[in-house]
Amino acid sequence: MNVLTPQTAAARAAAQSPAEQRRVVGRPAAHDSADKHVSGAALYIDDVAEPRDLLHAYVRLSEHAHARILRLDVAAVAAAPGVAAVLTARDVPGVNDVGPAFPGDPIFADGLVEYAGQSVFAVAADSIARARAAAQRAVIEYEVLPPILDIDAAMQQAAFVLPSQTMRRGDAAAALAAAPLRLRGRHYVGGQEHFYLEGQIAMAIPGEDRDIRVLSSTQHPTEVQHLVGRSLGIPDHAVICETRRMGGGFGGKESQASLIAVIAALLAANTGRPVKLRLDRDDDMKLTGKRHDFRIDWDVGFDAEGRIEGISFELASRCGMSPDLSAAINDRAMFHSDNAYYLPNVSIVSHRCKTNTVSNTAFRGFGGPQGMMGIEAVMDAIARHLRRDPLEVRRRNFYGKRERNVTPYHMTVEDNVIPELVAELARSAGYAARRREVTAFNRSSEWIKRGLALTPVKFGISFTLLRMNQAGALVHVYTDGSVQLNHGGTEMGQGLFIKVAQVVAEEFGLPLDRIKVTATTTEKVPNTSPTAASAGSDMNGKAAQVAARTIRDRIAGVVAAEFAVAASDIVFRDGAVQGGGRSLPFAAAVRRTYEKRVQLSATGYYATPKLHYDTATHQGRPFYYFAYGAAVAEVEVDTLTGEHRLRRVDILHDVGQSLNPAIDLGQIEGGFVQGMGWLTTEELWWDARGSLRTHAPSTYKIPAVGDVPADFRVALWSRGRNRENAVYRSKAVGEPPLMLGIAVFHALRDAVAACGEVAEAAELDAPATPERVLLAIEARRRRAAAAA
């Protein structure tokens, strides 16, 4: 095994100049809460000491996917033992909607339910058991309406939450008509439940005036603040939202946390008592949105070498009952329909389907993974048609460096490293030799088949909504020399806090233990963007760096005067402020600065440069840069049952110059496994009435420890360096590795293809459950028999 340990990664990072100068940035520091995590001392919202008079809330969910509410009588609920308040749509003092970008997400259903699991009313009682029991006493009469439950039905009825969009470059139709070879295909890609281990939760505490403080497990405290204010009809300045940490987010707490926080706040304001709302796992999975499932139709024209000449995609996604974040998610699917490949003439149409299912939402990759699934299926289809190794076709279509380097949205790819990264991975993973071994194995093995695949990832970094690309930080230095750091980013396990703390420690030349990262709160840094789009450390790291440098320069000015040197000659290193051969401990320098009446607190602000995008024409530069990676997966499939085992995985991923190789490695491995789960074991299943039946881990299967191969070789790309001026030339790492899991899916397709000699790709949709794999094998065998 050749696993890159964080130590060797650090050694590698440290060997690079000028990184060798650095004391903290680039080191594999442990997560700032590691000690608390392993000892049970880390406080999640449900662990915080409960205030006096706390009430517990319960939300009654709709049993129908689509129905008119003819009668909603909650009198018996209100009269039940222990109940303090019951709220329905008519009891919302402000706006009864928590839609983040567009309206359409009622807090409580108002006469109409549009998915099974929708919030109808909420009750607060002195215990959760009493609140739940009371909620069952409501009288709800429904007039059931016919539901639209899936993409096919929505497309048939032209039911959309938002207008369809088209992105194009060149003339796809003409290129398709002229191409020597042409193929068409349709694929379905399933959705995904976030399955953050900590379910959605909020606790709202009313204060004086009409102020309210909300502890929320959210990736977007500013949005919670705003929506709590709007639902209560009070200004933003009366609402504080605080988030210390989440037990996982993955996009599922970007917009979805708001409803929980708002209901807790409404009940708290109504009763004047603190209220906690914690969804149990089943309610969480029924009530909150998931990754969009997609239907992808494609039509590709290519030459005899497999080079694409023209291509058209028609994407259709299940958005559910409301727009939520579906505009940006589907845009991102369009942005990633090229993945790492140059598409000379391209047209991408995107339909945003309305269904009577939960409103789908952000999930790590945000539409990008689904977009990539389309083009990777095209690569597979071309290769099978030409009877070539799919890797050969993939490489032939990679973006070029100086030509063939313009995306379907007219952005020039300036930082393309995919050819050399893939070459290095193919070499280190022994792809060519293993391809021969797999072929030989399959020739001699009748019932067990193996498959091998290498797939690349190119993922655009930045929010595609321009205004969200800004961040703020607030740094205080106290007179004992300790530093308090706050920024707009939230910690959900991804290691943002430690990375930003490393940046600040580096600026001050301090060890990490002098930097205290405090809970994210709308009181300290206002008007923040969600911690999303992989941009957390890029943006907050830069903002915190600006704040730290402001204070550092002030201290340097004071010390320079004392040392009689230029401020530019002052350095902060090893806990001291040095210059002209003299040195002061940092705390002493701080004390001097205070005594000189110079401010030791500063804000920092950052706006990502170079971005511009026209949402009408779908042209511009929506991304500051791209993150790259690639994975090789080898599987073994049982052709009698469709079960599989993952034999080996090799990953090479570009994180630029890593801020923290241990944290980055964790993101890569965890992202890969999550992506693999999406495409294999994780299946969302609704019954004919539109009720989700996989709403707990007993029925919804995320990867377990044994699904991760013993032979798992993951490396950070040693040549990685961000050509853009991102913080310390690092690259974002939150989302891109998820798409490395596509290699597993294509290895499965490769194994299925080995079950029958036909010049076409395996008919396998995602998730590749044993059932889908077996049915694909059966179909393959029938096709091969018919062809023979």
Binding site: V38, Y196, Q494, E636, R693
Partner: protein
């Protein structure tokens, strides 16, 4: 009869008079003990965030078993030590070796699942020396879900910290703790009345049948890995609960007169070694049943008596021609396992009767047995289809074959028609094909979230083929890559 439970919470003795019979240990920890390190992730024993360790004396040492606190009822603590993540750090602040390994290997990201992993690792740390391979780590941790790390660093932490001889302060204190627990051991039977609920923990079969005669509608509670969910998921009110855990002899595992007897109260974990010795495939099946936490509590008797059509052990027991001993106040009777399942979750148990024992005839020379489980996820998943086969050949001819399936009907079901196509015929593909076809006539699977009816039928057929192929030494099984 006593109404107070006494146990050690860490090294601190606690006693609770009239404990709420169906309050979960997790709820007690978080709301009454105010020990919030232990988390709720699913409330159904599937994610492991609530994992705590139960200690029982075993001579001078302590046996530590990881369990799911979210579906463990409070009275189960009686006479035991319960350890949570808060107990592991030494008084001087030093982390326990498994905690330190998790820090060193970056095994926590969001941290929410971490206390559960730490406790599973603690149990593994105390599971004895001899190293710990990847398969053993998988087995110990399959019941702990992590959504952040991808598990690799946790596996590394496990292999770094576990597998040696335990030498932490718990090992040092074990004799003293064992002695204290012996001092807490109950001499009478527990009988609790709490807020309209009754909880009885009889200590003999006679007491048990008497209690059941007095409370014919009572819920029988063994490991609680199913009954726990009636409370945490369905929010059912269980008026009277009779616990089987303390009934003397009910957990006995014995071999006599060519029969392996598994007491209905034996946990999966306790029964696994005996079953695996005679039928290695049965052992493999059990290691995939639930998780370590579930197998430490759940019982084979419970798996049979709850009569789920997708229980993992009934097909194997039917194929092995097991006999069930049913006991009531009036005496005992025997019934073939295959005759026990009358309909969807309906059994041949008469009111007042309990399942006392499962008798499995030991394999005769030349007998082959195999059982296969197919599910979406390899570990800790519920079967889409489970199949079991017992074959005896006479030369090339099938002298005897028993075939049974789970997931193919409203009950675990023997495939009589398929068997008939095989008995007396050559053990060759022609007969197998005929038997595969016969399955379609006698099985009636449903489509649900686990699999479609068509897939289930196809797999049921193919598993028979797989069994045949394996008897021909054909490579028809996935390689174990752990």
């Amino acid at each position: 009869m006593g109404e107070t439970i006494r146990f050690l919470f860490g090294d601190e003795e606690r006693s609770i008079r009239s404990p709420a019979p169906t309050q979960t240990v997790l709820e007690w920890l978080r709301t009454e003990a105010r020990a919030c390190g232990t988390k709720e992730g699913c409330a159904e024993g599937d994610c492991g965030a609530c994992t705590v360790v139960l200690g029982t004396p075993d001579g001078e040492i302590m046996r530590y078993r990881a369990v799911n606190a979210c579906i463990l009822f409070l009275p189960a603590l009686d006479g035991r030590q319960v350890l949570t993540v808060e107990h592991l750090r030494a008084p001087d602040g030093t982390l326990h070796p498994v905690q330190q390994a998790m820090v060193d290997h970056h095994g926590a990201q969001c941290g929410f699942c971490t206390p559960g992993f730490v406790m599973s690792l603690f149990a593994l740390y105390h599971a004895g020396g001899g190293g710990v391979g990847r398969a053993a780590v998988n087995e110990a941790l399959a019941g702990n879900l992590c959504r952040c790390t991808g598990y690799r660093p946790i596996v590394d932490a496990a292999q770094a910290a576990c597998g040696g001889v335990a030498e932490d302060r718990f090992a040092v204190a074990a004799p003293a703790i064992a002695a204290r627990l012996r001092g807490l051991a109950r001499q009478d039977s527990l009988a609790v009345a709490h807020d309209g609920q009754v909880f009885l923990a009889p200590r003999s079969l006679g007491e048990l049948t008497a209690a059941l005669a007095a409370h014919p509608a009572a819920t029988l509670l063994a490991g609680g890995t199913d009954v726990g969910l009636w409370v945490t998921k369905q929010h059912r009110h269980l008026a009277t609960v009779i616990a089987l855990e303390h009934v003397a002899g009910l957990a006995e595992i014995a071999e006599r007169d060519g029969v392996l007897s598994i007491g209905a109260g034996a946990t999966y974990d306790d029964a696994c070694a005996a079953l695996a010795r005679h039928w290695p495939d049965f052992g493999r099946l059990l290691r995939r049943l639930g998780s370590r936490q579930i197998r430490n509590r759940g019982t084979i008797g419970g798996n049979v008596a709850n009569a789920s059509p997708i229980g993992d052990t009934p097909p194997a027991l039917i194929a092995l021609d097991a006999t069930l001993l049913l006991t009531g106040a009036a005496g005992s009777r025997r019934i073939a396992a295959e005759a026990f399942f009358l309909g969807y979750r309906r059994t041949a148990l008469a009111p007042g009767e309990v399942l006392e024992r499962i008798d499995i005839p030991l394999p005769r020379p030349g007998e082959r047995f195999a059982t296969y489980k197919v599910s979406k996820r390899f570990e800790q998943d519920i079967s889409a289809v489970c199949a079991a086969f017992r074959l005896t050949l006479a030369g090339d001819q099938v002298a005897d074959i028993r075939i049974a399936y789970g997931g193919m009907a409203a009950t675990p079901k023997r495939a009589v028609a398929a068997e008939q196509m095989l008995v007396g015929r050559p053990w060759q593909r022609a007969a197998i094909a005929a038997a595969m076809a016969a399955l379609e006539g006698e099985m009636a699977p449903i489509s649900d979230m686990r699999a479609s009816a068509a897939y289930r039928l196809l797999v049921a057929r193919n598993l028979l083929l797989r069994f045949h192929l394996t008897t021909q030494d054909a490579a028809a099984m996935l390689e174990d890559v752990a």
